[in-house]
Amino acid sequence: MATNHDHGHGHDHDHHEEHEQLKVLGFWIFVVTDCVLFGTLFATYAVMMNSFAGGPTGQELFQLPGVIASTFILLTSSFTSGLAVLAMNKGNVKQLIAWLAVTGLLGLSFVVLEVTEFMHLMSEGATMATSGYWSAFYTLVGTHGLHVTLGLFWMTALMMQLKRRGISAVTRRKITNFSLYWHFLDVVWIFLFTVVYLMGVM
C-alpha cells in the first residue's frame, strides 16, 4: 500500500486488490496480441521455408545439440519461475528472489547460446540478407530472443522491487504477470523448436 492517506484504509485496500486483478486480465489480453504477432511470424516463416535462393539451407547449418541444450535450459527456467510463484504464495520473499535469480541465470545462458548460434551461422555465410529463408529465420528466432532479453531486464527490476517492498498486492500482481510471460515464451519456443529446427533438419 503506497498511499499514506488518513482515511478509508480498508476501502483503499479493496480498490488496490481490484485494480491489480484488472491488470492481470489486461496482461492476458496482451499475451493474446503477442500470440497473433508470433503467429504472423510463423506464417511468414512457413511461406519462406524453401526460399533459399541458392544459399545454404537450415539442414546444412543447424547444429542440433546446442539447440537441444538451450531448449532444456529454457524449459527448466520455466519450471524455476513456477517455483518462484510457489515461494511467493508461501510468503517467502527470500526464496522468491532466489528462484527468480536462478530463472534469470538460465534465461541469460539461453540468450548467450542463441547469440553464439547466430554468430556461427553468420560465419557460415547465412545472414539476414542471404535469402528469404534466412531473413525469416533470424526474424522469428530473434524476436523470441528479444522477448527473453526484455524478460531478463523486467525480472531484474522486479527483484529490486521485491527487496525493497516485499510481497504486496502490487508486487504479487507483477510476479504473476511476469511468470505468465515467461511460460508463454516457453510455449512459443516449443513451437519454434519443432517448426524451425526439427522440421529444418528433417
Binding site: 503506497a2 480498490h15 484488472l22 497473433v36 504472423t40 526460399s51 528469404g132 527490476a157 522491487q161 502490487v170
Partner: protein
C-alpha cells in the same frame, strides 16, 4: 564546411516546390505564434500540468479530437490538390511525383491519422461515462496511447517538409516501396509513423476491452449495456487481432529496406504477394474497426431522437460481433485480379458478401426504430438520416465489387474509388460527426450552433454526391486510379470537373463547421441540465461538462437505458429516491512519463528514417528508461476528499 552544410540541407529539407515553401513558412510562423502566446500569457506550466501530463480520459479524448480535426484538414487539402490537378485534361498544377506523394499521404492520413484518432476521441469521451465508470481501466496506458499516436502522426507529417513524402500508395506495396524504387526517407517515415502510432492503437484496444468487461457500474449486465459501448467492444476485439499483424508487416518491410532482408523483394527468394496478404489481413478488418463504432453512434442517436427504445437490441449486438469475426475472412478480395485459384476467389467473394448481411440487419433496425417515433431533426439526427441512403448505395456497390468476375472490370478503377469513399465518408465520417455533435455538450458544456451546422451539413452532403457519383461513371468509362493527368480525347473532362466542384463543396462544409465551433464557443447554447437531448444512457445523468471524477456517486443500474427509465419513473411518481452517500474518490495521478516516452519513440523513428542508428539507440535507451522508471513508481494514485466532491458538485449546480 559551409558547402557541407548546404549539401546536407538541400537533401534534408524538401526543396524546389512553391507549395512546400509556403508550407515551410506557415509551419514556422505557427510555431513562433504558439511559442509567443504560451510565453506571453505564462501558460507553459498550465499546458504541462493540465494537458501534457493528464491521464483524464475526457481530456485525452479532447486532444484526440483536436488532432484528428487538424489531420482532417491536412488530408482534405491533399484531396483538393488532387481534384484541382484532375479538374481539366492536361493540367500541370502538380508534378507526377508530387501527385504520387499526395495520394499516398491523403489515404494514410485519412484512415490512420484522422479516422482512428477521431474514433479514439469518441471512445475516450463517451465509454467510461456510458458505463458509469470513473475512468478507463489503465489511465496511464491511455495517455501513453495518445502520445504515441500524436508523435507517430507528427513524424509522418514531417515528411512533407523534411526528407520527402512517401509515394508508394497508402498501403506501400512492394516492390514500389523497396529501396530500389523508393530510395529516399519517405517510406521510412511511413513505416515508423504508422508503427509508433499503431502500438498506441493496440494498447487502446486492450484498454477498452478491459474497461468494458470490468468497469461497468453495478447492475449493468452486458445485456443492458448501451450499444455504443458494444460497438467499441467489437471494434477493440478486431484491433487486438489485426494490429499485431500490421506491426509485423511494417517491421518486415523495414528489415527489407534497412537490413537487406528478402521478405518482399523480387530477388533472393522474397515474395511481394506475401506483403499484400499480410497488409490486407490487417487492412480489411481495419475498415470495419473504424466503421463499427459509427454503427454504435447511430444506434444511440436514433433511439434518443426518435424517443424510442432501439429496435432489435439483441440482433444489433449479434450483428456487430459477427462483423468482428467475418471481417477477418475477406482480405483476399483486394487482389482478385492478381491470379489465384477459383475456389480461393469464391471463398473470399462469398465471405465478403456475407458481411453485408449483419450490416443490412442493422439498417433495418434503425429504420424500425424511427418508425412511429417522434423524430426531432437536430444535427446528430440529420447526419444519421443522411448516412442511411449513402451507406446503402455504398453497400450495394460493395457487393458489385465482391462479384469476382465483375471485379475484373471494376478493379482499380474510379468505380472502386467512389465505392470506398462512399462507405468511409458516408459511414465513418458522417457517423463520427454525428457522434461529435451528440456528445459535444457533455464534454464542453455547450451545444454547437444549429444554423451554421445545417449549412455545413448541406454543403457536405450535396458536395458528397456531386463529387463521387461522377466517379462511378468515370470508372465505367475506363478511368483508373492514380492517373495524374489525362487527355481531351478520353472524354472524361466534364465528369471530372463536376467531381472537383463537389470536393470543394465538401471543403466549404468543413469551413462552416470550423466557423460553427468558433462561433459556438462564445454564442453556443449553454447546457445547464446535463441532459440537453433528453438522453437515455448514463452519461446524461451527470452535469455538463462532466467533472473530472465523472460520477459523484457510482450509479446502480437496473434497466437498459437506465437514465431514461429513471426519468420515466420520476414522471410517474414511482421513483424511489436512494439516499446518496459520498465517499472519497480514488483517482490516478498525472504523469509526465507517457509524453516523454513517446518523444523518445519519435527519436527512434526519426533516427531510423534517416539511417542514423546512434539516434535510434538513444531513443530506445530513453524508452527503456521511462519503462524502468514507471515500474519503480508505486505512489500512482490518490483520493479526492468528500469535501472537494461536494464543492465541485455544488459549483455545477448539483446537491449531493
Amino acid at each position: 564546411m559551409w558547402e557541407n552544410i548546404k549539401d546536407f540541407a538541400s537533401t534534408f529539407f524538401v526543396t524546389g516546390d512553391p507549395l512546400i515553401y509556403g508550407a515551410d513558412v506557415s509551419i514556422v510562423l505557427t510555431i513562433i505564434a504558439i511559442l509567443f502566446v504560451l510565453t506571453k500569457y505564462k501558460k507553459w506550466g498550465w499546458l504541462w500540468r493540465e494537458w501534457l501530463t493528464t491521464v483524464d480520459h475526457k481530456r485525452i479524448g479532447i486532444m484526440y479530437l483536436i488532432a484528428s480535426l487538424l489531420m482532417l484538414f491536412r488530408g482534405g487539402v491533399d484531396a483538393l490538390l488532387m481534384r484541382v490537378q484532375l479538374a481539366f485534361p492536361n493540367v500541370e498544377f502538380l508534378h507526377s511525383d508530387h501527385y504520387n506523394a499526395i495520394f499516398t499521404t491523403h489515404g494514410t492520413i485519412m484512415i490512420l491519422f484522422m479516422a482512428m484518432p477521431m474514433m479514439f476521441a469518441l471512445f475516450n469521451m463517451v465509454v467510461p461515462l456510458q458505463l458509469g465508470a470513473r475512468d478507463v481501466a489503465y489511465p496511464f496506458l491511455n495517455a501513453l496511447s495518445f502520445w504515441l499516436f500524436m508523435l507517430g502522426a507528427m513524424l509522418f507529417n514531417l515528411s512533407f517538409v523534411i526528407g520527402g513524402s512517401p509515394d508508394a500508395g497508402w498501403l506501400s506495396y512492394p516492390p514500389l516501396s523497396q529501396n530500389e524504387f523508393s530510395p529516399g526517407p519517405g517510406q521510412n517515415f511511413y513505416i515508423w509513423g504508422i508503427q509508433i502510432s499503431g502500438i498506441g492503437s493496440l494498447a487502446t484496444g486492450i484498454n477498452f476491452i478491459v474497461t468494458i468487461l470490468k468497469m461497468r457500474a453495478p447492475g449493468m449486465k452486458l445485456s443492458k449495456m448501451p450499444l455504443f459501448s458494444w460497438s467499441v467492444l467489437s471494434s477493440c476485439i478486431m484491433i487486438i487481432f489485426a494490429f499485431p499483424i500490421l506491426t509485423v508487416t511494417l517491421a518486415l518491410l523495414f528489415l527489407d529496406r534497412f537490413a537487406g532482408a528478402h521478405f518482399f523483394t523480387m530477388d533472393g527468394g522474397g515474395n511481394p504477394m506475401m506483403y499484400l496478404n499480410l497488409i490486407w489481413m490487417w487492412g480489411h478488418p481495419e475498415v470495419y474497426i473504424v466503421v463499427v463504432p459509427a454503427f454504435g453512434i447511430f444506434s444511440e442517436i436514433v433511439a434518443t431522437f426518435s424517443r424510442k427504445k432501439i429496435f432489435g437490441y439483441k440482433s444489433m449486438v449479434w450483428a456487430m460481433m459477427i462483423i468482428a469475426v467475418v471481417s477477418f475472412f475477406t482480405w483476399a478480395h483486394h487482389f482478385f485480379t492478381m491470379g489465384t485459384s477459383a475456389s480461393v476467389i469464391a471463398f473470399f467473394a462469398i465471405s465478403t458478401m456475407i458481411v453485408g448481411i449483419p450490416t443490412g440487419v442493422k439498417v433495418f433496425n434503425w429504420l424500425f426504430t424511427m418508425y412511429r417515433g417522434r423524430i426531432s431533426f437536430k444535427q446528430p439526427m440529420l447526419w444519421t438520416i443522411a448516412f442511411i441512403p449513402c451507406f446503402v448505395i455504398g453497400g450495394a456497390t460493395g457487393v458489385m465489387l465482391a462479384v469476382a468476375p465483375a471485379d475484373y472490370q471494376y478493379h482499380n478503377s474510379y468505380f472502386l474509388v467512389a465505392h470506398f469513399h462512399q462507405v468511409l465518408i458516408g459511414g465513418v465520417v458522417f457517423g463520427y460527426l454525428a457522434g461529435i455533435y451528440y456528445w459535444w455538450p457533455k464534454l464542453f458544456g455547450f451545444k454547437l450552433d444549429e444554423k451554421l451546422g445545417k449549412w455545413g451539413f448541406w454543403f457536405w452532403n450535396i458536395g458528397f454526391y456531386v463529387c463521387f457519383m461522377p466517379q462511378y461513371a468515370l470508372g465505367f468509362m475506363g478511368m483508373t486510379r492514380r492517373y495524374y493527368t489525362y487527355g481531351w480525347d478520353r472524354g472524361w473532362a466534364d465528369l471530372n470537373l463536376v467531381s472537383t466542384v463537389g470536393a470543394f463543396m465538401m471543403g466549404i462544409g468543413f469551413i462552416f463547421q470550423v466557423w460553427q465551433i468558433a462561433y459556438s464557443i462564445k454564442h453556443g447554447e449553454r447546457d445547464t441540465t446535463g441532459d440537453p437531448w433528453n438522453g437515455r444512457t448514463l452519461e446524461w445523468s451527470i452535469p455538463s461538462p462532466a467533472p473530472f471524477y465523472n460520477f459523484a456517486v457510482v450509479p446502480q443500474v437496473k434497466e437498459m437505458d437506465d437514465w431514461w427509465e429513471t426519468k420515466e419513473a420520476k414522471a410517474n411518481g414511482t421513483y424511489k429516491e436512494q439516499p446518496a452517500k459520498l465517499e472519497p474518490i480514488h483517482m490516478p495521478k498525472n504523469s509526465g512519463i507517457p509524453f516523454i516516452m513517446a518523444n523518445f519513440w519519435f527519436l527512434v523513428g526519426f533516427g531510423f528514417t534517416f539511417g542514423w542508428v546512434w539516434m535510434a539507440v538513444i531513443g530506445f535507451i530513453g524508452v527503456f528508461a521511462c519503462m524502468w522508471a514507471r515500474s519503480f513508481q508505486y505512489d500512482t494514485d490518490y483520493y479526492v476528499p468528500v469535501e472537494e466532491v461536494r464543492r465541485t458538485e455544488a459549483s455545477l449546480g448539483r446537491v449531493v
